[in-house]
């Protein structure tokens, strides 16, 4: 088949992706020229073309912030812990749900854990502030066991844990859905055969279920690497206070406060670019990992 013959037959398929490519170019690539503001002292009235160029000044300022290493560290610790907790938690939860026999029970639990995903952090922030306060329900509960009230949101010992746990609680339902979908793809005949051979529940999970969803696990874990600098701006902004800047202040919240003093579009642009570059590197890495361990590749 010559190319000519092939195209004669396949051209509608190529035509169909043209709108998609156009969309990506227009909304994903075209706006990228805006990153030039990271290298400017940008003023909206002057626009991209006439704002003065300042070279690396915005980046130098970002890296010279006295808190820079602290906020970078907090961002990494919180984001990585969230990714790990989210993935492992979702796997365990979906395995448990998969083993549950009663369909109603399974559906009910799944809906319940999925529910917080739909609430915004502003709403959840108000609820958590109440629940976690020294006079709140959680402290009253642990108080019954003789534990002193803990400042879950106000102490540097607790703050990261609170952020990670509450983030987990909000998001885990969503990640669980994907694993549950992957679990349905496993051939039941394998389970039946193993059961006849005398394999118990845990043995079947270990040798059939987990290997069955391995590509999904690796893929999701690898893709989430791109989020390694996304520690959860809204969540932290609603829950933190100066007392926990030491452990809870992340890049986004810090830049937000810098921006409150005066509109610093260029600095925000520089931060965005910095985070994108790190994210880009990690996505390349995760792509390699996905290829290596899950056989997932695009080309």
């Amino acid at each position: 088949m010559t190319i000519r013959e092939y195209m004669k037959r396949a051209w509608p398929l190529y035509a169909m992706i043209i709108p998609g490519i156009f969309f990506v170019l227009l909304f994903r690539y075209y706006p990228m020229y805006g990153v030039v503001i990271a290298f400017q002292d940008f003023s909206p009235a002057k626009g991209f073309l006439n704002s003065p160029w300042v070279g690396w000044e915005n980046f130098e300022f970002l890296f010279s912030l006295p808190e820079f290493w602290r906020i970078l560290g907090n961002t990494l610790i919180i984001a990585v812990a969230k990714i790990v907790a989210d993935q492992i938690g979702a796997i365990i939860l979906s395995l448990l749900l998969n083993e549950a026999r009663m369909l109603f029970f399974r559906r009910a639990i799944q809906t319940l854990i999925y529910l917080p995903y739909f609430l915004s952090w502003i709403v959840l922030g108000g609820i958590l502030l109440d629940v976690l306060s020294p006079y709140g329900i959680l402290n009253q509960a642990i108080g019954n066991f003789g534990v002193e009230p803990q400042l879950f949101l106000g102490s540097n010992n607790w703050f990261r844990g609170t952020i990670i746990t509450s983030g987990f609680w909000k998001n885990v339902g969503f990640s669980t859905i994907i694993y549950l979908a992957a679990l349905t793809a496993i051939n039941p005949a394998l389970h039946e055969a193993a059961a006849i051979d005398g394999a118990g529940r845990f043995r079947r999970i270990w040798h059939i279920t987990l290997p069955g969803i391995r590509p999904t696990i690796v893929l999701l874990a690898a893709l989430s690497l791109g989020d390694v600098l996304q520690a959860g701006f809204e969540q932290i902004l609603t829950l933190y206070s100066p007392a926990v800047y030491r452990t809870g202040d992340i890049i986004d919240t810090n830049v937000y406060r810098v921006g409150l003093v005066s509109a610093q579009y260029s600095l925000a642009g520089a931060v965005g670019l910095f985070k994108s570059l790190i994210g880009f590197g990690l996505i390349l890495l995760s792509y390699w990992l996905a290829d290596r361990y899950a056989g997932y590749r695009i080309l």
Binding site: S133, L151, R257
Partner: protein, 595 residues
């Protein structure tokens, strides 16, 4: 500077009292037979159709609104169309919208100006910046720009996009309701709107003493411990301590706290600014020292003394353990409303925000209020709430009808702010009649019976701006005084429904009125003013946020005992070396350049 209810309308037009005086008993009786009370004659109606008129003159217990004199040369013919930006949200009766409402219809009849909405935003800091930036970038600025944030205003000025209104203002601005009303505080009103002696827009002025603190305290708790309303910081401490020890709160055992405090020490509700004020300092503020230089208060030694005191109070359970995680409204809902706390240093409006929840949750709760406590040397000061918001009403460069818009603004400023006009809004939009007994009810919360007649303001211009803008900062207090001096002395059978609604307020709204009048009377006496009122300096832009963080962290750690009190000295030194000295220099360059 401050005059008692200064704006008498007698010289401009006959008032209702004049009318009654002139008309004699005969006419008044005839009118009472028809209206149930003697209404104001609908004045200055010109060709304005009756259905556009505010008020409810045709209701048995209704009232008529007296319109101010129609400005010279208005309504303009042919009518002009002006575009303007607006801050939302708003709500209208069915069929009406922001461009076509009772307000715009009356306005068009009076002035000949038709307004077109260029864009709007809901009260949100990011959104307003976005919208204005977009307008700047696209080169399509509205003719009239509502509440332009300071940083946008700076951009506009820098790029010469704002019309200089100095001369037009001199020529056509209302002599009383613009010029005189905005002359308070030695030109304080114009701190942003005037640049190098030229008026580049109109100031955004809110109610005077809006956030000036008073001491709100539970009278029933005071009775329970046998104490009086404290007048000094020491007495305040003793009372708070007694409340905590007696565990009078509604929460679980041991959950009573002494004084409500929030994440910011100087804030708008449950603030500790009067405690700092008792030592004559205010964190975050710039005030002149003996030599006339501005000094940053947060690094002064008096702050250390106050922090030491607050640290001791925190350790003794006077404050909530997690006070520093609470936003001000949360103290209102949880501590005041939840009845775990009996003392808050909050503005007069606490009587309407927080206290009502408290009484709902505990009907035996009785609140009272007093002046802020005095310090050891007798100083009694609080954070001065600047009625001038850091935001300006601007006109597009080259806009040719500035004079018309200024006349319109003057007309509405008088209608809305002169109590003699008896303006209570539009029936069906701001209120409706609940029954034939002459009761009125607010609609959609737009008319707050207790807070004056400016709840709904939907015409372009400072006095009509949603969110409390006006031209006279004492306007609300003038209304209270008017009600107390004129309405209260109106014989009961002559009162209309609105008068009755106000005069028969419940305990808390009467308390709000009292507190408001008191706070406004003390407004220019007890306030510590932040004298740095311009754009952030270069070094502030760069280092300001870090220094603010350092300050916030240090203060909260000292108070909660995670850092030693002497860490304050380290902080003060770090602040100076970390850019503070440079900022002080820049601030004083600006300050001395001002004078």
């Amino acid at each position: 500077m401050s005059k008692k209810f200064p704006y008498k309308a007698e010289d401009l037009k006959p008032s209702r009292r004049d009318f009654l005086k002139w008309s004699g008993a005969g006419l008044a009786t005839a009118m009472m037979a028809r209206y149930g009370f003697a209404p104001i004659l609908a004045q200055n109606m010109g060709d304005i159709p009756a259905e556009l008129h505010p008020g409810s003159p045709n209701n048995a217990r209704g009232w008529a609104t007296a319109l101010p004199p129609i400005p010279e040369g208005m309504p303009v013919d042919p009518p002009v169309t002006v575009t303007g930006s607006r801050r939302g949200p708003w709500e209208f009766a069915d069929g009406d919208d922001i461009e076509n409402s009772p307000f715009t219809r009356l306005n068009a009849a009076v002035t000949g100006i038709n307004w077109k909405l260029a864009f709007n935003w809901i009260d949100n800091e990011e959104e307003v910046l976005q919208k204005y930036n977009l307008a700047i970038a696209s080169g399509e600025l509205p003719d009239f720009m509502e509440t332009v944030p300071l940083q946008i205003y700076g951009e506009l000025l820098e790029n010469d996009l704002v019309e200089d209104i100095t001369d037009v203002y001199e020529a056509v601005a209302h002599p009383v309701w613009l010029k005189e009303a905005m002359s308070f505080g030695d030109g304080a009103a114009w701190q942003y709107a005037e640049v190098d002696g030229r008026k580049m827009g109109l100031p955004y002025i809110e109610q005077a003493a809006q956030n000036d603190k008073l001491l709100w305290i539970r009278q029933d708790w005071l009775d329970a411990v046998g104490m009086e309303v404290p007048t000094t910081v020491d007495e305040l401490y003793a009372v708070a301590k007694a409340f905590v020890e007696a565990d009078l709160g509604q929460g679980g055992e041991g959950s009573t706290i002494g004084i409500a405090a929030a994440n910011n020490l100087v804030t708008w509700y449950s603030s500790l600014d009067p405690i700092f004020g008792a030592w004559g300092v205010m964190p975050g503020y710039w005030t002149p020292d003996d030599s006339g230089d501005l000094q940053y208060n947060s690094v002064q030694p008096e702050i250390k003394e106050v922090l030491g005191l607050l640290r001791q109070w925190y350790a003794e359970g006077i404050f909530a353990q997690d006070y520093f995680t609470l936003r001000p409204p949360q103290t209102a809902f949880r501590q005041i409303g939840g009845n775990t706390c009996g003392i808050t240093m909050s503005p007069a409006f606490a009587a309407l925000f927080g206290l009502p929840d408290s009484v709902t949750n505990d009907p035996s709760a009785r609140w009272t209020w007093g002046d802020i406590p005095a310090g050891p040397t007798g100083i009694k000061k609080k954070a001065w709430s600047n009625p001038v918001v850091d935001s300006v009403f601007c006109f597009r460069k080259g806009f040719e009808h500035v004079d018309l818009v200024l006349k319109q603004i003057g007309w509405w400023a008088e209608l809305l702010q002169n109590p003699e006009n008896r303006y209570h809004g539009f029936e069906g939009t701001d209120y409706f009649w609940r029954d034939d007994n002459g009761e009125v009810d607010s609609m959609g919360g737009t008319l707050d019976l207790a807070s004056g007649y400016d709840g709904t303001k939907h015409i372009w211009g400072p006095p009509g701006t949603n969110g409390g803008a006006r031209t006279d900062p004492r306007h609300e207090t003038n209304w209270i005084k008017h009600r107390r001096e004129v309405w209260a002395n109106t014989p009961e059978e002559e009162r209309d429904a609105m008068m009755e609604a106000f005069l028969g307020g419940d305990e808390l709204s009467v308390m709000w009125d009292d507190a408001n009048v008191f706070a406004v009377d003390r407004w220019e006496l007890d306030g510590i003013r932040n004298h740095f009122t311009t754009f952030p300096t270069r070094t502030m832009e760069r280092a300001g946020a870090s220094l603010n963080d350092l300050e916030a962290e240090t203060f909260v750690n000292i108070i909660t005992g995670q850092a030693s009190l002497d860490d304050f000295d380290t902080f003060a030194a770090d602040w100076r070396s970390g850019g503070g000295d440079v900022i002080t220099g820049e601030v004083n360059d600006w300050w001395h350049g001002q004078m």
